[in-house]
Symmetry: D2
Subunit: 361 residues, 4 copies
């Protein structure tokens, strides 16, 4: 109940602090017989890894994953899968001077108030390094859902600051997304985004943005009707990612301005007698349950709180202090957040796939 | 796991279909000794009730709540509180002709696909009537949190279609909200909103909007750092309400356009040595944990799917059919959704209050 | 987390106090399409009902069950099934004089200490009347498991006081059990048991006993290997029944005296190539997972605490008081506990059936 | 839901196979600020360790625990505590010849049937090596409960085969228990027990027994009234330990033979006005809730399934095979199970302590 576990049947528990012994996860409830290797996991971790390009933090972290249980002769056995990365690039002395300071819009103050104690080295448990365990677990979910059901997860950077692409999310490919360091599939604006991020870095500042997610080939029937609507659980999954401030499914906030006669997705009978909708303002989910159309959602990220610019804040005694961060941080977290969004989407769909299967014989 | 329960320690399970025997809830985990009466609950139910004003549906439902367990001599005893309303205004024959039709953007199609069977009378379990149980449970949470901790929940209609108020949410009072049938605290635009809703009704159409929520006097420390961030659980709570398509905490999607140097909420020491933030782009939650500032969030509602305008859809055999709804429905669901938003917010805060208390001695 | 819910996927929440408004349950997660009627439920409730024979309490409670949600046109729809019995035979004045007294070995003292408040009418929530909701939920589970999988649940009174039957539990039939008011399938000793119970009643005393349960035609593979072993969850299910003090699976405490070479159940290949065991000291469960043999268990019930004999106890101020119960109570609870044992067994198996199905594709 | 997690608020998840990469646990929900070190944990692990005396298995496993998260500067921080032991003494070739054989009364057959795949090296996940994670987690719970509440956990071997001590469990001390390799506090029979165990070992056989547990200084009010009775959760905890076949609380199966007038624990007012009971047939728990008396329970262990004696069993094709185990195994598991019983008792009490605190303000 301390909120370190996500999911009901595909249960992901993450553990670890930024500069503790290790970070990782335990995945419980994974179906049996899935072929899985450290390499499968590593691929997504490398997309999340710091230092992967000139627009991310320059910190180098190799982040080599080990699978320590739950896999035998290359296959899942139905027992808990523990995966972890030992922490290496630990330079706690970088953080020593921050131990009594509450950095603005970080979790320093709230952790201190909640627990009365905190691991102040690099954000401790509140560090985005925690998401490494999510990406590892998500890689398993993605592999299963791809192989067994053909479900595909795509996420990409749609907006950085006020630069936004208008590409049709249904047509975007994985190759387009991975073709550039921003992970934006619109080559016309990628350079502008890179320029903006580099400008922001030089100013010692940071910038936010929006990631769009599309999930293709989802079977109808996933999601529970009341509290655990698929949209509600996807929303929670995304809002649990560090720095996320907003979530939209389908039409989102734009839908609030519309009339029912515009917004209603009219049904028709398509190829092979499959019932489809003409529009998809519902974002692939109706009454909390997937309807077989692409699931479409958007996730708003604030600019990351760590900036080099001087800021005035307070210390644990309430005294004003000047803060000038010196670590190597991300001016824009979105390119590295793309695999995290995919992972949380995959974990959510996986869990609902198993839940649906349990009740509907 | 069928998603009819919300919360970990303050657990709300709702039951009931629109035209079944009864709708209601079981609240488990309520602290002991809270004075509670049917009247306390009824007050909020009346704000959710159909037929309460000219801009809601004209269906009359008295919705008298009964408390059937868990309360003894006017006080909660720590045992499950079962509350219910027997269904009365049941006119299933109104729906008989809809039993084989998939109404656009309703849950008819997805329920049928998921379960192979559904209660087609008035939406069955997918009916907004299910939220009656949430409002009843929320009334208990609100009363507890108000009396023991002084926490106040305010929600109001901020936007209907493209008419939007810019009032400062921190200054809005409950009286202002309840002073008019829209539940919008900005008297300058209320009339315009009413006009729009009436126009939409005449056209046989519906319109969406945005509800803003503010939670005042929340203690610091509520929320869990990783998956069960207070913002993530509030988001899930809101996204589980029928017709909701988007959720923002604090700066939301606007925050995505900002720089870190603008967005960071600088700390300072305020009255009585209390550490405060100068701005509140965080929306009262940092690192998933409440920081003592007002919690601010926004919830986007799509226009309700039931409209009188003729629509072309398909039946269960995939044949095209004309649909012209004749029931008495809401042109704009937002005024009645205000107490639902408050209820879900209160249930979420209550649950996290108990969770925080359990771990932090 | 207040312990009013049992099960992970087939979730049973009971509510209600002995003399409150109603007692009942919400069953969430029941598979779709099961035919169910109030009559199906009532049959088991009647076996649990007070006043059913001369050896139970003479209190008359009709206990007519209503199904108020989750069933449509006679079938389960996948939504929560709420069932309840309105309380009628409420004579709280009988209990008024007990409101400040801690009856020996009842829950009066511990409820008061835990909650500081309690519904003192007839034991309130601690009353065995709470088990009515369990029996109703169990009736659904039994019906599903019988129809879909051919699983059969048998429970019978094996021992009353020191009178014990040695019949082979594998050969006992439902008809034998229901052929007499003790629910003991051994006609040779039934009369002795009845005599003992009547003697005990005349003495104003009560007597304990043992119920044996047998579950037949359980598929292999139910149960989870570590904490949620099928034996552990069955044990918890039984130990949660009021007055239960012990639980054995298979060889139980006798097994503690044996050698491995005696106790090991040797495998052999039986009819149709099915792998069987020669003996069944394991009680049908190995490593926490069902092996296809009959599941065999025993449940020890203490003598019920309510007796007519005078006892010295204390009141809420710690003063000595004389207690002489006058209500109409059971001298031996076992005959009425048989359907409760069956119900808890069925709920447990049902839950594990769904859990197994979720993970093992 | 795969049953690898125990507890609601103090949540223990174990992971790992006998011969995989590592075994260990994640403890989530531990209160903040508890001083904890690897040494604290190691002490109990050493009591569980193979090879600790001449009557256990002679396998040497050092089992050095590492704490990899959740502890900072020697104190718990409220974040998940991951602890593990890397597997070293891996000789899977010992097991290679067993990979297609179903050992009698082991989990080989049921795992194969459930999952269709299994890690056959040394029992894999079904190995008692899994309990290492439980003991580590239990050490934390014991330390917390001792320091904050003075609660003491004692478990000891009461019976080996048919040799049984009659010492008064309330008077037994930890020193007496640890004074000999059997962990039986009755010096008069310890030698007989050792002789029996050595005899059994020489015969290539194994023998079962009973462990008694006593929990002292438990506050009143722990346990939930209905399904999560403290006795039910303790029972489940014990029945989840490998080889356990029975559980009794208080009078247990003996209580079934008694009259209510004998069994009822009469209240009286003791020292400092504390309400006590004259007898303790309830075993410290009434209505599922602790009453402040010593909690007393008994746990029956079958003889371990691995024996050196030749047995006839079947392989995965159903063919008869001769089995003669050659590994180094325990003739009697009870001395090493004592810390496991203590650990599971401590985890259960800890969880209920936090649960009680959450609801009862």
């Amino acid at each position: 109940m301390s909120g370190n576990t996500f999911g009901q049947l595909f249960r992901v528990t993450t553990f670890g602090e930024s500069h503790g012994g290790a970070v990782g996860c335990v995945v419980d409830g994974c179906p049996v017989g899935l072929e899985i290797s450290a390499e499968n996991i590593q691929k997504d971790l490398d997309r999340r890894r710091p230092g992967q390009s000139k627009i991310t933090t320059l910190r180098k972290e190799e982040d080599k994953i080990e699978i320590l249980s739950g896999v035998f002769e290359g296959k899942t056995t139905g027992t808990p899968i523990m995966m972890m990365v030992k922490n290496k690039d630990a330079r706690p002395e970088d953080y020593e001077k921050l131990k009594d300071i509450f950095r603005p819009s970080h979790a320093d103050f709230t952790f201190q108030k909640k627990y009365g104690i905190r691991d102040w080295r690099g954000g401790g448990r509140a560090s985005a390094r925690e998401t490494l365990g999510r990406v590892a677990a998500g890689a398993i979910a993605k592999k299963f859902l791809k192989e067994k059901l053909g479900i595909e997860f795509l996420a990409y950077v749609e907006q950085v600051g006020d630069i936004k692409t208008e590409v049709d999310c249904n047509k975007v490919t994985s190759e387009q997304i991975e073709s550039n360091i921003v992970r934006c599939p619109d080559e016309k604006i990628v350079e502008k985004m890179i320029e903006l991020i580099e400008k922001v870095r030089k100013e010692g500042d940071s910038v936010g943005g929006v990631i769009r997610g599309v999930i293709k080939s989802v079977p109808t029937g996933l999601g529970e009707p009341v509290f655990d609507k698929l949209s509600a659980d996807l929303g929670k999954a995304m809002l649990s990612i560090p720095a996320v401030k907003g979530f939209e499914i389908g039409s989102g906030f734009e839908g609030a301005k519309m009339r029912g006669s515009q917004h209603n997705d009219l049904f028709y009978t398509g190829k092979q007698g499959k019932i489809r909708t003409k529009t998809n303002f519902s974002g692939g989910i109706q009454g909390g349950i997937s309807n077989g159309e692409n699931i479409q959602f958007r996730v708003a990220f604030k600019p990351v709180s760590t900036i080099r610019k001087e800021q005035i804040t307070v210390d644990s005694k309430g005294q004003n202090v000047k803060l000038e961060a010196t670590g190597r941080h991300d001016p824009c977290v979105l390119p590295r957040a793309v695999p995290i969004v995919e992972a949380m989407a995959a974990i959510t769909i996986m869990d609902h796939y198993l839940r649906n299967k349990a009740q509907n014989l």
